[in-house]
Symmetry: C2
Subunit: 448 residues, 2 copies
Amino acid sequence: MKVAKFGGSSVASAGQFRKVAHIVLSDEQRRIIVVSAPGKRFKEDIKMTDLLIQLANKVTNGDSCDDVFTAVMERYEEIAEGLELSSEIIEKIKADLKKIIDNYKNEPERLMDALKASGEDNNAKLMAFYFNHLGHEAHYVNPKEAGIFVTDEPGNAQILPESYEKLKDLKKRTGILVIPGFFGYSKTGHIVTFPRGGSDITGSIVAAGVGAEVYENFTDVDSIYCVNPSIVDNPRKLKELTYREMRELSYSGFSVFHDEALEPVYRAGIPVCVKNTNNPEAPGTWIVAERDHKEQPIAGIASDTGFCSINISKYLMNREIGFGRKVLQILEDEGISYEHTPSGIDNMSIILRAAQLEGEKEQRIIDRIQTELNVDDIHVERNLALIMVVGEGMEQTVGVAAKATMAFAKANVNIEMINQGSSEVSMMFGVKEEAVNRAVKALYEVYF
Amino acid sequence: MKVAKFGGSSVASAGQFRKVAHIVLSDEQRRIIVVSAPGKRFKEDIKMTDLLIQLANKVTNGDSCDDVFTAVMERYEEIAEGLELSSEIIEKIKADLKKIIDNYKNEPERLMDALKASGEDNNAKLMAFYFNHLGHEAHYVNPKEAGIFVTDEPGNAQILPESYEKLKDLKKRTGILVIPGFFGYSKTGHIVTFPRGGSDITGSIVAAGVGAEVYENFTDVDSIYCVNPSIVDNPRKLKELTYREMRELSYSGFSVFHDEALEPVYRAGIPVCVKNTNNPEAPGTWIVAERDHKEQPIAGIASDTGFCSINISKYLMNREIGFGRKVLQILEDEGISYEHTPSGIDNMSIILRAAQLEGEKEQRIIDRIQTELNVDDIHVERNLALIMVVGEGMEQTVGVAAKATMAFAKANVNIEMINQGSSEVSMMFGVKEEAVNRAVKALYEVYF
């Protein structure tokens, strides 16, 4: 049994629905499919989810929402008409949306979650209806019925472990099962959404729950590239990478795969195949537990901007047991999460996402560290970018670091920071934001 | 005014005493001298301090100590006789030693500290007596009289800030002042020693207290080398290095200068000159606040063995605010100090001196991290060496890291760990102990 998840652009129009149906029907192992809300049909298009967020905000603010409501319905209507479906399904969707607005109009957070979730939910109903229209047995399966139970944190749901037991029952059902992505139900029966991009999470949970042979993740690219194609032209396509490599890459800038989505399949040992709905013949990229990395020790290069570092120095810092712990305690008190903490004998830096340090909070943290730890100097350095070189073959290969640093030197990029050691699959470099693309290009040149 | 400190080998014999006198008398600015206990005269010789430790242990254990007592006295007698001094001073030393043993025989810690300190103390008396014998005005100055007041931690004294005020009075005194190194007095009047090698600390404190023009540190080498001469033959001599460079180098394996000793002169901005008692014409090495580092960005390479790393991994570790803080809290509870904490997305390592992890403690720490933080994997990697490349020119120079990593690759040394970023003057590499000398040689080749 295969679980196939189709992303927003794969289910954005009637034409895309036809491609999905063709893909699903061409392999009888594709028994469970998870769908996103309709995505963009062209570059300037608005995603369904964004329309629904607008709708929720208008309802909450008491503004007139007829135009947005109509825009939402038009997307479904266009798909239904393009597929020559009867209007019955459209009426159903319309009634469903009105019911949500009516039920939750005085609960802004619940309304937001329920409307956001409706994008996936109604698209799943539409997809199941389409399969039936084509003459195939297919069932829309609501996440509650499937057994996807989550914590009650609107917009940040976490799966509850008992869900996996319940999901097993899906195997007993017949026909094609169409499950909406992106949300589950709390124990009290409320719709709660996963973090954004969370249809990948639903697919991964379902694949783990039914013990799928493979979790297919259909997108709009032939494969995962070893580096961001907006930085390097026509970069190398990856045939295979490991869960660890994918996680490091997706965390630090690779948007192909949602960062948290890998956990369920990783724990269950289910391989993932990232494929293109628009070119299903392409082999795609496999994400697996192990790969032979002799020929290609490096899997990819990721980069992300928007970091800063808090640099602290204090003479004889290293003699002070508890110094580092106290600094981290102050950050924890302020709810700050950090990326790395490179340290020297008398120095310590904390690298974090700059968006977390705002106005008052920044000053309060600096003051606390200054006063409570009596440091000699503290200052914040902004506009940092982190570059992650990721690969299973990193640890054993003398010279991986040499290649990287030579590349930086040739490209005249100063390295603000290097962190290598704990993770066996990645090496991190900190550079100024202005140099990041130059640095990534230089790294691509030496590794690929 | 210059403060000159003479290390153990510089005051190990009558011949060395003559050299010291010659050096001091050749420059009338050399008004305050600080002396160590007699050091080794030849490779297999026993240092006075070690004899005195033996003596203290024997007294404490109730063993006969006549032989050690005699060996101690013979060292002083040999010096006194060689310098043709009257026996009066030897009788004084003998009486002093007996008094210490008698006073503290039931207080092992105090006895140890007082006997250890007597090595410097009696040598200072002997030195002052010798200057008088040569017809010069010279005074032995006891640390209590000088104003060196310290915390009451036997073997680990810390200077009390009020000492600096009192030390100023030394400037008013006439003649050559001879102060024993290595110890001060607690507020309750007890002798308390600095950490071992602490005569450097006394010299530095006195130089800062009197606002010396220079703190001269006389040893038995012409200069500080850029790398350990037992690893690289005839390494380059350093003319000048900064306080920060010296501190980083001395911390990580350079034994020339005691690591904590720099602080007082660093804070007071007093330059240090490391010189050779056996070749005082050599220019020595200057330790200063700033140096022109354009020509030589790297000052030196230090290395030290005996480290280990605790490697922790946990899926989605980076999402857990407080994870790093909790790990460091456990180490703090166990009194463990660490060097560095390189981290990946799902990994964290703690690099520390392996001697701190012994039997039960190691297991307890592993168990606590495992249980309290629910990690996926934790293991300890031993036999690590750290190599520190130190230089003020490091930050601005693209290519410093490239040279290092290329050198490692050529020498076929795998880099277990790189830590660069916080300190602007050093870059740290972790390698297997077996590869450390090969690595240091390779680095020397590329930088010097």
